[in-house]
Assembly symmetry: D2
Homo-oligomer: 343 residues x 4
């Protein structure tokens, strides 16, 4: 059994890791930390876990974490970079679900996250954990920077177009809609049911932290710097991201459907919908899956790609486990083979 | 008192008309028709109207409608055009909340609505009821084609850019999100709570009936045919439309905020938000108001406009009443002066 | 114009007062206080109020409040009792939407609210603001203790049975379901959309602060101390209370429907539904109305009463305005004549 | 592998069976029928099942079903009784998720379901599939009548009190709240998002079909006919039942908590919460689990029991699979060992 540690287990990403790992055949969660909840049983905080975990939260402790085979960081940015160097030194494998190691340009990271980076060398060694792009490098990685939720949906949607140089790379648009769980489990007026239910709004239209991350991934795929407008929206639902992506074709092409199907033919967790079918976020609720459709309205030169994930699964905890499975040479779908929940 | 008739009062647009007219100081609803519910009291069907209406639905009857000063059609397309000619002949003023008279190109209308048009001459005489564009013509109109919900939000958002020739008119994008009430009150699996709640999806990405209507309005504003990609989305809430609009500036300009404020300075029902503030659909819930923000992310050449309305009010019943107020020389906000409902 | 002051205007009760008063023909809101938001315009905090209020929050100030004709307290318990004595002395009329003056037994109040009461004499002079019981006394009152939301729904439902001594007063059951706005606008994990949406739970089954208030009102109606079990539930919606009330008939009686209709025949804001029809909370959304149905399942000796209100309107701000109207000899429905919002 | 047939696979119970069986290690779904959708792939109708099922709906066919080891009926009442006799004769084991075999008194059944029963002998042989009561008989059963959703929550909550003769059996109250999926996947105005969201209502307060079923189960537990008032409520959420149960203690007793814990100590799918903790329906979302709490407010003689399930899992498909596991001597939690989904 692989011994797992989780740093920061009281947020939605943490409890989702616990939910998914409870049914993983090859792992045992041996440490879960929370400064504020030390001593509390995880199943007292998250009663869905009753009868599955007897574990209690503990104060973060390097020795305990160093005894794990792999440590997940489900923490706000800044935490992982403070603890990772020591764990890396001691040979622990690390999967950071936060933002600390996602952006290779450390200065750019500092601008967006308003923080000095304390271990740029680890940024360099980190592998960006998008298996559909980096599977081979993930196998060897000691440190994984798990992609953000918006970046996962947006990149998987845009990749086939950019890798094949089919669209104007200077004017990409990602209009993304997220459920409220993306805002986390912190006590904030802005995430109250009475503030978010029965309403739709854009936020951070002037600039969101996932913008540089998406741009980095798309630029790598396009092999040149891309121009991207990214507008996130808060949607009145718990889970789910719906990315609606717009690009302009350089030449009128047929065969986009076939292109997408072929690009993801061997991917266990990307599902290209039949032509003309729109994906719904609820079809991936609770599942580690990205469903994608591609349209060319009125056969014009604008391509519209629809890409949906569960932000807590393929956009966070599920993708993290998928990375672990690859790193430890387990079946890639171990613990991740269940279907979405409809209705 | 102005005598009002309503044809097709059992849908969401119908009950919303009744709700708003119940507090209108100058009107009296004297006829409301429904073939299927004839004999049923409106307050038995919509108990929110108890103590406000004693009226019952009746079978549509030309004589009764002809005795009204104004008749609203809150019907699926095809109904208004079958009854309007006779009423017009008899001098009744008509406000059609459906699609029959919105599109000036009758052949185009037939393509999208899969129906022969039976009174093209009325299409010609009809005034498109967007007061922010056509207020003067509305005053004189006998027949109003009330704009669709998406078209209202999209046009009000794009107008200042197109009227001033600031953006590339060939590549406009309207990514629109609508509450489920936009799908109507018909019994359909696709509108069940269990099918729409906790989910987000695009629909009709290949082409939606509001596309030619929006394109017509924007082309008039731009004084040339525009290119438009329009993707509607079904959002898990009852009311509200959030239009997120993208356009490319021809030249880098400052002053978009001032431009929008000045364009709508005298409009009672368009509210430009302060710079940097994102509008929420809930701020207009139940109110006849369009709230708009304009952004230029990273000071780049893409403009993002956010435009929100309540699809049943400024997107339907409220706008219809606004038109009536203008036609009958009443204060434009009569019956429409309440605020939105938050929370 | 009646000059209105509001203490504590940043919560849901405060913004609802502002929404309703914006359309009240006889009042002008001249002061609204908030320590934390002093200087902020109310319309910047609650954008639905844009174009209706230019007012800004101010630090609570006795002079400014004393210049008002009536002051509403929309504050947590403890605040009104600290400021009311001075205002009362200066002749201001007070409507407390909080709990400070609701319970006549000051010791009992202290037990449930964990606070010493600082002005028991004001408790004595306060009139419990349930117009359906105390209309005559409200006319003369200087200080109104506005009923809680659960107590309004429960009392209006039980009154006819108890006033007529028809049921076993020792075993009353009130199973009540509330929307999340009842929990207020404070930043709390328990009120997040992700914690409350798509879930139902009881809370405070062992004892809730509204229990002694309901018991006091029912005991007055029954003219003897009643026994009551009250279980509140958190329901995944913004607004609304649904009280399901159970009592045992002493003798088999017919005519409960007629009894209820007759009891409330002259009440502008209590609406007895036709026999066999169940009220829905949405029929009173945004409206100052209580809708009630009475059932005797299987003609057995258990009576089931269903009573619905909007917790923020008839359960708080609307009822407060109704009290004001009565106090100032205005039409009782001034500012309260709109319908509920369906859908 | 156990060969499974499903009759009526297009409703919510059907798709939930498919979701759960997709991860069951010992079964293979070989037939799924739907008259209306014959030829359609289940994964085209329910895209969450893509990559899990290649199966298509077929017209119900006795031969194909007779080749199965077990056939589930996820059908409206009346269907199972028309097909079961032939399948029983041919040795197939049957699990009916509908109502045809739940009520032993065939005349009573006919009264409530407005239908003649065509195979009373099968009613007699059927075992009521509540494992917590009938586990031993389920092992031997050929025909299982799977309990309804409300009856499951209500019976599991009341059982310990009645089996031990602790409460007045003549006055039991079950105030139950259900998510909208309980109303099924049929196209009906009453289940639209716009009709059910943001609202709470009771329905069938005069009498609901689950009343005789609950009364039958409770009477067996009490060993005498019980008196029961049962009021179901429609709650604005997809899944979940919350039963709030009230009973009067004959004698003041302590130890209710211990009683409940001991009654369900060995039950894999009933979880008694720690004293003072209220269960939430979301803690069982997607999981085959009933969570129960017991309260004695103010140490008075009224007992309040809170019992929550997912209506589609422990209230339908999950319980059906639990029955199958018992019948086929599989581990009782095979395919049912996942946790609920929070958030």
């Amino acid at each position: 059994m692989i011994k797992v540690g989780i740093v920061g287990g009281t947020g939605y990403t943490g409890v989702e890791l616990l939910r998914l790992l409870a049914n993983h055949p090859d792992v045992e969660v041996s440490v879960i930390t929370s400064r504020s909840e030390a001593g509390v049983k995880v199943a007292d905080m998250f009663p869905n876990l009753r009868r599955h975990y007897d574990l209690a939260f503990t104060v973060p402790d390097t020795e305990a974490l160093a005894a794990c085979d792999v440590v997940y960081f489900a923490t706000p940015h800044g935490v992982a970079m403070s603890m990772a160097p020591e764990l890396v030194k001691r040979g622990v494998r690390i999967i950071d679900l936060g933002a600390d190691f996602r952006i290779k340009d450390v200065e750019l990271w500092s601008q967006w996250y308003k923080l000095e980076h304390t271990c740029p060398d680890l940024v360099e060694m980190a592998v960006y954990g998008l298996p559909e792009v980096n599977r081979e490098r993930i196998k060897q990685a000691q440190l994984i920077a798990c992609p953000g939720c918006y970046p996962t949906a947006a990149q998987l949607g845009f990749l086939p177009l950019l890798e094949n140089n089919l669209v104007d790379h200077r004017r990409l648009i990602a209009d993304c809609k997220s459920g409220v769980s993306g805002a986390g489990r912190g006590a904030s007026v802005g995430s109250l049911l009475c503030e978010t239910s029965e309403s739709m709004k854009a936020y951070a239209a002037g600039g969101h932290r996932h913008l540089p991350e998406i741009r980095q991934g798309l630029s790598l795929a396009a092999d040149r710097p891309v121009g991207l407008t990214f507008v996130p929206h808060l949607t009145p639902m718990i889970r789910g991201i719906h990315a609606t992506l717009y690009a302009t074709l350089k030449d009128p092409v047929d065969g986009l459907q076939a292109l997408y199907e072929s690009r993801y033919a061997d991917e266990p967790f990307v599902d290209v919908m039949p032509a003309g079918i729109h994906p719904e976020t609820r079809s991936v609720k609770g599942a580690n899956m990205c469903r994608i459709s591609v349209f060319r309205p009125q056969n014009d030169d604008t391509v519209v790609v629809l890409s949906v994930i569960d932000n807590l699964v393929k956009g966070a905890a599920g993708q993290a486990i998928q990375n672990m499975n690859i790193m430890f040479d387990l079946p890639e779908d171990a613990g991740l083979s269940h279907t979405g929940m409809m209705p």
